[in-house]
Amino acid sequence: MAGAPFPEQKTMPSAELKTLKARVTVMPKAGVLDPEGKAIGHALGTLGFNGVGEVRTGKIIELELTETDPAAARAQAEEMARKLLANTVIESFRVELA
């Protein structure tokens, strides 16, 4: 891939910097089909786990942020979720700080 102009990654050396962890949970919105959740629910039934209702799958994305003010870090993570991490047409998200 000589010459392929990928933007340079700006990775922070985490050991040297004070950081804050944000955890973004992305889930399909109610009413959006989740065939993967359905398949998992079906497999659980096959394994004999009865009494499982609807199964929904999603994603968890952990972010290491150099912003250490909790309110500002949360606002940043929420903006990232709106702009990229979640597709709000089909998904909702929740941000937790650790």
């Binding site: 102009p5 009413g31 065939p35």
Partner: protein, 232 residues
Amino acid sequence: MNAVILLFPGTNRERDMAIALEKATGRRPTILFHSETSLPAGTDLVVLPGGFSHGDYLRCGAMAARSPIMPAVAGFASKGGHVLGVCNGFQILTEAGLLPGALLRNASLRFLSMECHLRVENAATPFTNHWQKGAVFRAPMAHGDGNYFADDATLEALEKDGRVAFRYVTPEGEATEAANRNGARNNIAGILSENGRVLGLMPHPEDLVDPLMGGTDGLPLFESIAASFATA
């Protein structure tokens, strides 16, 4: 006419698209890398071809929709420019907000690589004017995430305004559940933007434009494009 085909890392149908466009228009399209930030002067049509841009990471098309070239594509579309997205290109256009809705995982959870039949729902567009409304044609499809989803209000608006371009149907032209292999709402295979100049569809008409490919069912799409710009 000057067509520009965008190339993202993981795009793999750009050459098929170039062959189909050149066959219909007589002009070889320009292939433009995603890291560019502007379109060549005089661009008439921007095409986002199929593939697996950025490995389908996060969501299909999510990364590509945030590529450096995409603000230029959005600007081009907002000024009335013509944009075509096929398969991954359709996914990128929805992720970029240039078309409404989203493409979910196929309801069967299976990657579907097969032939399908499409019905032309609107033949009065720059992309479909070489078909009759209601015409049925064959098209190859190959996707894991082609299950079109939009909320009820969006779906109603698409239907009311003639913005459903193509629907999955049986060879006889019936929009049945069995013909809707990926589970798309209302059997939707392709949709148009409000001004009718942005089209996204999951199947691959560009892969059926020559008898050597097994038929020319997909050619009217490219002849329509050529005709639209010949008279413009």
